[in-house]
């Protein structure tokens, strides 16, 4: 099977190589390979940058999962209506997701820079002190999570909408006759039908947060300092700029384990939940 050969050589083999490389000291420049055992992992334990990046990614992932799902459901419920205006809005709302992350990064950077639109807008309402959305470590991470969630909300909304359409109209009418209130109707009628969408959305959010790179590069470049450097950025910097390939591979391996375990756990847990509901 040509498909499996290609997939094997360029996807599965690299995963295996990541594991092997992480026990070596490798340089791209000199093509040196030295077996150094578990030294890379030992060094990793004392690498502040790594903990820093790990925290950043976990924080962003957490925010993205919660915010994108909640706002996605709200948008989906709001737009789930057969009126021409809603149909147009449903088509438009997805467009952020199909833009390139790097385009999204530069878009938000032009909105959030010190003399960008947001600050001008705030000045207009005479809120005096200019906030440096991208230059201040306190706000930079929030700015990035906004740019990340913007695309993911678009995705979540559309998937939730697709699932809301699957609710049979008879059921909806029956609930209406029973006179269930808005919240009750949502918990007992909509929520079970949205379970598959929750699974898909959460998994997609996890995947895109763990590999977060382009948006941050365009927004802050990892700065100020290293306050917004994601693990992906740290790996690429260590391997291709600092030329410590083995060390970078050991980070890749840890990220692979974290993202793999989290994603599969979410997939299995949410998948079971779908059936039990």
């Amino acid at each position: 099977m040509p498909a499996l050969i290609l997939f094997g050589i360029l996807i599965m083999l690299p995963i295996a190589l990541t594991l092997i490389y992480s026990f070596f000291k490798i340089s791209f420049l000199t093509n040196d390979f030295h077996f150094i055992g578990t030294k890379n992992f030992y060094k990793l334990l004392h690498k502040k940058d790594f903990y820093n990046s790990l925290q950043i990614v976990l924080f962003l992932t957490f925010i993205a999962v919660i915010a994108s799902n909640i706002i996605g459901i709200i948008f989906a419920k709001l737009l789930n209506h057969e009126n021409k205006i809603f149909i147009i809005l449903r088509v438009l709302i997805f467009t952020p997701f199909i833009l390139s992350p790097i385009v999204v990064g530069y878009t938000f950077s032009s909105i959030l820079t010190d003399n960008g639109i947001l600050n001008q807008f705030l000045n207009y309402f005479s809120i005096e002190h200019n906030i440096s959305w991208l230059g201040d470590p306190k706000y930079a991470l929030i700015s990035i999570s906004i740019a990340l969630c913007w695309q993911l909300i678009a995705f979540c909304t559309v998937i939730y909408l697709a699932c809301l359409k699957n609710i049979p109209t008879e059921l909806e009418d029956a609930v209406k006759i029973d006179g269930a209130s808005g919240l009750k109707k949502f918990i007992y009628l909509d929520w079970p039908f949205l379970a598959p969408a929750l699974t898909i959305n959460t998994v997609v959010i996890l995947i895109s947060s763990f590999k977060l790179y382009d948006r941050v590069l365009a927004l802050t470049g990892g700065g100020p300092g290293r306050s917004t450097e994601t693990i992906s950025m740290l790996i690429i910097r260590t391997a291709f700029n600092e030329n410590r390939v083995g060390f970078a591979s050991s980070m890749s391996l840890i990220l692979l384990i974290i993202s793999g375990v989290t994603t599969f756990a979410a997939l299995i847990y949410l998948g079971r939940r779908e059936i039990s509901i």
Binding site: P14, F75, I85, S100, I102, V103, N115, A162, I236, S259
Partner: protein, 270 residues
């Protein structure tokens, strides 16, 4: 007419889509106006930003576009062909073998690319394909095969087993059955794979940046990054460049939006 709901929906959607509106509208303004009045409609519509890109970095722009068009179309062709055949072949395997293959494909689907870029780089170097068009093309194809296969399998479940079996009884070979019976029934799945894989390849940034080499190759996304890094761009030109490189995917989405969403559901739902 639920007026209250319409107003709330329109207001919230407008806030949500404001960044999009802002790029488009400001790409038609003069620089001074962007700085003074970033949110309003332009006083005078100008194409000067677009003209400036062509005169300042026209070579980068055209090269980026040609490369991205080639990458996208060739990746689509390879992914379509290979993943539909794989999905078809898996159909005939034992249930357990099927599951093992799918677990591997799923692993490939959820894999963040930065993790494997280092070994992919060394493998391509070993094959003498680093910094080449074909090297990146092969990687793109390999990376999107899992998604394509899952979408095709999702749609293939709807083809009755009897249809396939009947064709074998009639004496059709494996390949004849694939090309004459299965493939025509998979047209909607193919449309989904085309639009989604196409968008992803077109938008991808980190893989071309690393695998094409720091100075040599370019795609539209890397071109954008280079333009910001190399030339002193103003906001207007940046926005115009972003509009130009986003336009193809937006147009494709508007025409094929139904397949886009169906494909995402089929690829992610097991």
């Amino acid at each position: 007419m639920p007026y209250k709901r319409i107003i709330i929906a329109v207001v919230l959607s407008s806030i949500f889509l404001f960044p999009l509106y802002m790029i488009i509208i400001n790409s038609f303004k003069f620089e001074q106006e962007i700085l003074n009045n970033p949110a309003g409609l332009p006083d005078i519509i100008t194409l000067s930003n677009y003209i400036n890109i062509f005169s300042n970095s026209g070579e980068l722009l055209t090269k980026s576009f040609i490369n991205s068009i080639l990458f996208t179309s060739f990746s689509i062709i390879i992914v379509l062909q290979l993943s539909s055949m794989l999905a078809f072949a898996i159909h005939f395997l034992k249930y357990r073998t099927q599951n093992i293959i799918f677990i591997f494909l799923l692993l490939g689907l959820i894999l963040p690319t930065p993790i494997i870029l280092i070994p992919v780089f060394t493998i391509l170097k070993f094959l003498n394909l680093n910094n080449t068009f074909i090297g990146l093309l092969l990687f793109f194809s390999a990376y999107y095969i899992p998604f394509g296969t899952l979408v095709f399998r999702g749609f293939m479940k709807n083809i009755p087993k009897e249809t396939i079996e009947a064709s074998f009884v009639d004496g059709a070979s494996f390949l004849v059955c694939y090309f004459k019976i299965v493939l025509p029934l998979l047209k909607p799945a193919a449309a989904s794979v085309i639009i989604i894989t196409g968008t992803w390849v077109w938008n991808d940034f980190i893989n071309p940046l690393i695998l094409l080499g720091p100075s040599k190759g370019t795609t539209v996304t890397v071109g954008l990054y280079r333009m910001v890094g190399q030339y002193s761009v103003n906001f207007g030109e940046l926005f115009a460049f972003m509009v130009l490189i986003s336009l193809p995917v937006i147009i494709a989405y508007l025409f094929l939006q139904k397949y886009f969403i169906e494909g995402l559901m089929a690829g992610s739902g097991k």
